[in-house]
Subunit: 426 residues, 2 copies
Amino acid sequence: MARIVMKFGGTSVAGTERIRRVANIVRAQAAGGNQVAVVVSAMAGETDRLVNFCREANPLFDPAEYDVVVSSGEQVTAGLLALTLQSMGCRARSWLGWQVPVKTFANHANARVGDIEAAEMIAAMEGGQIAIIPGFQGVSDDGRITTMGRGGSDTSAVAVAAAVEADRCDIYTDVDGVYTTDPRIVARARKIKHIAFEEMLELASVGAKVLQTRSVSMAMKYNVRLQVLSSFVDESSPSADTLPGTMIVSEEEMGKLLEDGQVERQVVTGIAHDKNEARVVLTRVPDKPGAVAEIFGPLGDAGINVDMIIQNVGRDKGETDVTFTVPLSDLARTQAMLEDRKEKLGFNRVITDSKVAKISVVGMGMKSHAGVAATMFQALADRGINVQAISTSEIKVSVLIDEDETELAVRVLHTAYGLDAPDEAA
Amino acid sequence: MARIVMKFGGTSVAGTERIRRVANIVRAQAAGGNQVAVVVSAMAGETDRLVNFCREANPLFDPAEYDVVVSSGEQVTAGLLALTLQSMGCRARSWLGWQVPVKTFANHANARVGDIEAAEMIAAMEGGQIAIIPGFQGVSDDGRITTMGRGGSDTSAVAVAAAVEADRCDIYTDVDGVYTTDPRIVARARKIKHIAFEEMLELASVGAKVLQTRSVSMAMKYNVRLQVLSSFVDESSPSADTLPGTMIVSEEEMGKLLEDGQVERQVVTGIAHDKNEARVVLTRVPDKPGAVAEIFGPLGDAGINVDMIIQNVGRDKGETDVTFTVPLSDLARTQAMLEDRKEKLGFNRVITDSKVAKISVVGMGMKSHAGVAATMFQALADRGINVQAISTSEIKVSVLIDEDETELAVRVLHTAYGLDAPDEAA
């Protein structure tokens, strides 16, 4: 017997037929004697419909009223799932954000989860009732509905799992787990059975879209075991322990699994790519103390997330080229801010390039293995792929390359680190 | 300066364009220096969509979860109207049922309004903020969402008006007032400028569909001045006192208006028709004490609303025919219940007729004028219309006739009581 939080995304609950399929999966978990809470998204397309209404009503919308409108999508799904479970003979009820309550702070439309006082809900779960919680929504200190930003239902699920001290938080989605890389690029990509929070965070932040970064860091903080799995599997089969998803666990648990031989020791766990970055080069920046701070301080203040900073020595003495990347969506704003301050900063030109891609190799194994970066550079050089910038963390090496070479680079690296699945035909 | 509650139905808020029109009407009232609360329905069609989801999820739905799902329609409209008003520079916020709170009791899906503790909302209104309240919804003692049954938004509006001690409750709808009779039948029907609660109640209960009966009786109980008017009038014109709707007021206020000569003294105020009744005849019922109670007791227990009971003396001594009407939707159930108990009741046959119509003339003037019923019977007899049953109250006379003669009877009576508008061509 375990206490489990299950989360289903928008495509899994798009319509009453799919909600019935979800209810079957939930029922199977409850029938196994588990205490179950379910977090649901709005039906696919519904949030877009509601957001459009808000835009039509008021392009500069008040986020508090926006929250009133858009939170209704999850409310509907929660009620319908409770009704469907009841039709199957299960005891179930919905718990809206303000009923649990899921207290939030900070801004409307982008609220952060605070305290979740779930005592009443836990008591109901202990009494055998399935709890259904609309994701994405909470309640502010002054008793108004809040929402957590698009995709916030993953975060809701992890927060609820932490609050009810769940043994596991299962995130059901339209893919069946986390892969060593994008299977659309590498046919031999393998599903990862176990991955550490830190690795998942690095992968999520560089373009593996399976889970929201915020939900993974919250799971790490509260040590919630996360599982990613598909809601489109055969609904008659799932038993708690044989679900064929990806389990995301703490470094400590990962260590135990390695010791027990349940996990194969890998240096690199996964390879991610991200085409949503742009490269900016400032030429002939005066090479004096504080110059770099003067460039990046204002960008940071404007909420622009600068990554991969490199300083090249320039042709002339006392001058340097500064290269960095920013999110593609912030490129125009970045360029305008730099041009405005050109005189003050004293550089010569701004050169930008949006046709770049960031390729990252991620793995806890790097902590104890040298030569991971060298392998990467060699493998890319062997195929003539030029590296424009490099950044590293304890468990990640990222390089910036020409966007056109993205797929080639991912395939080359997937092979170089021994991640390819065995040839089935062999 | 006045405190006004305005209510807009589903067709008035069907889409963001129509909500903008509503916002213009609301703004005009607020700009006149009035304190304004607005009660809104769900967009036309939305509640049906949500009810269908519930039926698909669980044909025998749990009304508590049904309420979670269907209440979302009004929530969306409330948020959108607040956003639209804000886009016009008005201060506005939504107050959901659980936020006001609108406390309710009795059953989910058919809740009754209890206390409305509106102190915080009133303070906001006094501060110049327009309050937007989703109709139809409230909150139960144990903090769950409730709804008041279809069409409950009128009742919400009157309850809110009573709670905030409004000077007036304006019900905006797709017709521009209450008429002396159905204008689709009588081209010369006139809009009634003032009508008493009691008269409106009788008209509403016999088929004039402008207002919910429950909302009128609540307005009478709390002495809330009600006005019915159209939201499809020119939005630039409405000033508080020249709105061309129908005002529904207390008998006392009506008396004053009569004394001041502001209202013309009429014996009959309006004529209603209702085709949703069916006639039932039980032949040769034993004429003994308690026989009638044995017939109607069980029907009442089953929630069947029996109307217009007549006992005819039968052909044989000691026997009688009993005629009565029931709502058409209960006819099959009534017939089955009677056949089941045929032996016990001792009657000979059940004869039913669903092709009947009830025609009612209503007017406070009947209290002081004799001969109203006689005028009715004579006018109908002159045109060869056969009266099958009669029932009367202090301010109403109803007759049951052949359904095919409905329009003829309404026209004849409208003329007979001098209600026809003057001939404009004359």
